[in-house]
Amino acid sequence: MIIGTVGVKTVTGVNNMGRFARFSWQSMIASLRSCLSPSTYPLIWTQMNIIGVKSVPVVMITGAFVGMTLAVQAYDQLAGMGLEEHLGVLINISVVKELGPVLAAVMLAGRIGGALTAELGTMNVTEQIDAIRSMGTDPIRYLAAPRVLACLLLTPFLIIYADLMGILGGYFVSVIQLGINSRAYWNFSASGVELWDVSIGVVKGLFFGVAIAVISCYKGFTCKEGAHGVGQACTEAFVASFISILALDFALAVIFKSIYNTFWPLKSLV
């Protein structure tokens, strides 16, 4: 009985993984084709407006609060050691490398991922996706590719906004509220934060954007019937996106650290 249940769950899990891998592959191919086809640019442009432009305020607010909270939390520890002027390094490196990208991506997963899944799920339930297929159009190319491309292209920019606001939020609390010397704050920040740190945060955005879009589109395309089905798909999309963001963040941290240790010291030789 237990073996049977475990067996069925395993087979179902493997099947779902296979379907997701196939969907991801088809989405990637469709996205590449869309890049080469100017007729699809208006679709991508529309999605960029919905996904990117309308997410700017929420991502900026997230970034600002991250920076401010870090300043409040870290000040006492550093001040106890007389190192409060180093607060800028701690805040800015945390914001640009980890917290800015991850929390901005999580906000996007909630704002965009849920909306994408609900929209595509409703289209699936009301047979609109079948209607697209019946008219000889590939729904992955028409629906998924523009959304994947919009997320891929705009998540890094949204992360830059989050970083910027995080830095400003941290500065506001550290210098204006806590009275740290402004010049020292920026000098220590400039010496501690390298271009590499900012770059990897932004590059992470490419991976996070694709993960959010592909997972959300897949959940929408495979949504079960009824209001419950759409609601369940939205929840699953957010949970899966959130876990993927954290898993990707860990994997990318390991990869980028190896690359940094190998190549960054060579910079001085160049």
Partner: protein, 285 residues
Amino acid sequence: MRQEIEKTETSQSNGDGVIILRKIIKKFGGKVVLDHVSLAVEKGKTTVIIGPSGCGKTVLLKHLILLLRPTSGEVYFKGSRIDNLRERRLNKVRTHYGFLFQGGALFDSLSVFENIIFPLRQHHRITDFKQVEELVKSKLAMVGLDGYQNYYPANLSGGQRKRVALARAIALNPEVILYDEPTTGLDPIRSDIINELILKLQRELKVTAVVVTHDMTSAYKVADRIIMLHNGKIIADGDADYIRNHPHPTVQHFIKGQVDDDDLAVLRMSGTMSQAQFLPRDFEQ
């Protein structure tokens, strides 16, 4: 009785139909929905598929355009096998079809005009916008809705939505139109408007039509041929008179809208209404 029900009619299944299904089996999980269904859809004729809810009518219709792939069996369109084609090549075949979905399946973010030009945009490069406007106008005039170009699906009634969906289905001048329960959810007058449209399209565009319905008034009005599906098998296949006089009891019960003896017995054995009622005092204790 059971043997009678399971006896299938597969007449004309090997004829020279525009769409041919051969020994189609479709399973969802372990459940067999279509069981060795063979069928040839005749060119220029209206074939109506009837049957009780859940008997596999829509599943059969979706196999004609391969929105669903069979578990086993073959599908042919104009003599070429299409069930083994990849989606990309199948998309070209599908441009020969129009499909009217049960709820219309209009894109609610697009206006009526944009819905109708959707298939044109996907398959043709539109350069002359004036010509496209004229085309949309003519398609909407065919379904009696010229002037509704700027409306959105949310602002249309159920019948109007189906008519717009029909205009979209004929946008590419298809050879075959598939109708999934076109009159379901409509009042008798609006149902008749849809029936008249089906006849008009067949008369004027000479299209091959397949209509899935359980509305017998509609079936008798539009059908050249009626097929009855029961438990995933074809149990009757012929013109309206043949179906009216068919000896099979299931066919007779269905076309007359009568519940059969087995179902009636189940209802009688399943308790009385007074037993099924909860009284407030049942909860007071």
